[in-house]
């Protein structure tokens, strides 16, 4: 059905002019909310501390009016430029964004410049609409414009982002999954009896790795259902007896692919994880061939 339409996801692929593709995980309004709240709290705390300091410093000298005027100017500047300054100086991050591993990038996946940082933050005033005045000094923004704009944009861009040509992404350090140690003797035995000329294709290797990484978290009955899809055609292809555990076969193929057929797994390898030592194999009730 959706052969033409890409599947929905919060990840986007951006291809640079040099034809290099980068995958980014977009941060939508709900993932950005905690960072925004942290920044709001930090800014309020800082302004409160400064206000107390100003009162203490200028109150005794009878210049409290001048001090408060300066504080109000600082409040105004921080209200409009806090996000812009931090994002310009910290390469697309504010303290809140840094805490939650978010970063503002240009829509092409490049670092943003100061103009983009300031523009997207100044336009936050538009995204915060509608605003309800609570008193002559204070008002609260409901951010509905920003929410609707982000929901309507495929990349969660509020109006400030659209105007500045930016997007917010989640920084995820990618690491290759660890190898899983297979010290079950049934697996080792079966792996040593598999045909020596059998070499798993690259896609099968990936599938086996994903299967073995996740199998410990899946109930045995469900695991047997999942293993059947690839396990049964492989059993037939390898000429193994009917009724053997598909889970065992997939684990043996994994072992053979990643560890060779040595009877001792490569336990000294720094990539080997100990997570599955002493594990039991789902459906192992039959003798391995």
């Amino acid at each position: 059905m959706s052969a033409e339409r890409p599947q929905l996801d919060t990840r986007v692929l951006i291809v640079t002019p040099e034809n290099i593709a980068f995958e980014y995980r977009l941060a939508g309004p709900f993932q950005r909310l905690p960072a925004y709240l942290v920044d709001l709290v930090l800014r309020t705390l800082a302004l409160t501390v400064i206000a107390v300091a100003v009162v203490l410093a200028t109150g005794g000298a009878g210049m409290i009016g001048l001090g408060m005027a300066g504080w109000l100017a600082l409040w105004f500047v921080s209200d409009w430029l806090y996000g812009g300054l931090f994002e310009a100086l910290w390469n697309g991050q504010t303290p809140g964004k840094r805490l939650f591993r978010l970063r503002v990038l240009s829509a092409e996946g490049q670092p943003i410049n100061a103009m983009q940082a300031v523009l997207r933050n100044v336009l936050r005033a538009v995204d915060a609409q509608p605003v309800l005045p609570l008193s002559t000094e204070f008002a609260t923004g409901f951010h509905l414009i920003g929410l609707v704009a982000a929901a309507a944009s495929g990349r969660f861009q509020r109006l400030g982002d659209l105007a500045a040509g930016t997007m917010v992404v989640v920084e995820q350090p990618q690491r290759a999954p660890d190898l899983v140690r297979m010290d079950n003797q049934l697996v080792v035995n079966l792996a040593s009896r598999l045909p020596a000329d059998f070499v798993a294709s690259r896609s099968l290797t990936r599938t086996l790795a994903a299967y073995v990484q996740r199998r410990r978290q899946i109930p045995p009955r469900r695991l047997a259902e999942i293993a059947l899809h690839v396990g049964e055609p492989l059993r037939v292809r390898l000429g193994l007896p009917r009724g053997m555990s598909h889970d065992l076969l997939l684990c043996a193929l994994y072992f053979k692919t990643f560890f060779g057929t040595a009877s001792e797994p490569l336990a000294s390898s720094p990539f080997v994880s100990n997570g599955s030592s002493g594990e039991t194999l789902a459906g192992v009730g039959r003798e391995a061939p």
Binding site: M1, S2, Q7, L8, D9, T10, R11, R25, L26, A27, G28, P29, F30, Q31, L33, P34, P130, V131, L132, T140, F142, H143, L144, L147, A150, A151, A152, G154, F156, S203, L204, R206, T207, A210, Y211, R214, R215, Q217, I218, P219, R222, L223, E225, I226, A227, H229, V230, P233, L234, R237
Partner: protein, 272 residues
């Protein structure tokens, strides 16, 4: 279900990611989701308006009247949400795997599940709501029961040893990740409260702007409060559906099954 044809990329997600993904889903099916939600919510809205009419007799309700109106509105919504969002859930279930979800099929499935829906989500939930300390049970104990009833369609009573009945299936699904389910429910409450406040406040500001700053009076509750509440419930129902998928991915390895099916198809093609 055919995971390899799912409309949404099947992988484990955090709750923030699910909240954002729900926005993408709403963006892709705006009118269909609106229609499915409205079909369930409108009867509840009209019923509530009729039931709660005696609580707001004045043009400008007093604080006490408003508090009671809000209390009863929330209580009724707690009871009605599973029924009000049943069509929405069925639509989402079909939209995950079909290009064109079929309304007759949705209605047939709703009719087939209506007995269990009434038993578990109206009678049982109603009894729990009547005992204030217990009203949290459905949210913490079986938050995805609607999806289990409507989408998995297990029998009410176990027919043979290989099948689950609805209750056993629900317990099996919810049993493994109770702490995470509770944390997600608390987060959903927090986000829902903020969204509700934003929508309600936003609607009131728009009223003030377009009505030349005339006070909304009872409309503040009968129209704007109700609209904000049901919009929030509708959105959180989409989030609940995606969380249900995520729970199945975590506990049943959907993404691995997808990879396995794809690999099996590749192997079959190579043999042909």
């Amino acid at each position: 279900m055919q995971q390899d044809r799912a409309r949404v990329v099947i992988r484990e997600r955090g709750f923030g990611d699910i909240l954002d993904l729900a926005l993408l889903l709403v963006r892709e099916h705006p009118w269909q989701l609106f229609a499915a939600a409205a079909a369930g919510i409108l009867p509840c809205y009209l019923l509530n308006a009729w039931l709660l009419k005696p609580l707001l007799v004045d043009e400008a309700p007093t604080f006490e009247q408003a508090v009671w109106y809000i209390y009863w509105s929330f209580t009724l919504a707690l009871l009605e949400t599973p029924l009000a969002t049943a069509l929405l859930t069925l639509y989402l279930g079909q939209a995950m795997f079909l290009d064109r979800p079929s309304l007759p099929r949705m209605l047939r499935e709703l009719a087939r599940s209506s007995g269990q829906l009434l038993l578990f989500q109206v009678v049982l939930r109603g009894l729990l709501l009547a005992c204030p300390p217990l009203w949290l049970f459905p949210y913490l104990g079986w938050p995805y029961l609607n999806e289990v009833i409507l989408l998995e369609r297990n029998p009410l009573v176990k027919v043979n040893k290989d099948t689950h009945n609805t209750w056993a299936r629900s317990q099996a699904l919810h049993g493994n990740l109770r702490t995470e389910i509770m944390a997600r429910w608390l987060l959903a409450c927090l986000v829902g409260s903020m969204l509700f406040a934003a929508v309600w406040g936003g609607l009131v500001v728009l009223h003030l702007v377009f009505a030349s700053f005339r006070e909304p009076g009872a409309y503040l509750y009968t129209v704007y409060f109700q609209l904000a509440m049901w919009i929030t419930i509708g959105y959180l129902s989409v989030v609940r559906f995606l969380s249900y998928l995520d729970l199945r991915i975590r506990t049943e390895g959907w993404e691995i099954e997808l990879a396995m099916r794809t690999e099996a198809a590749r192997m079959a093609r190579q043999l042909v």
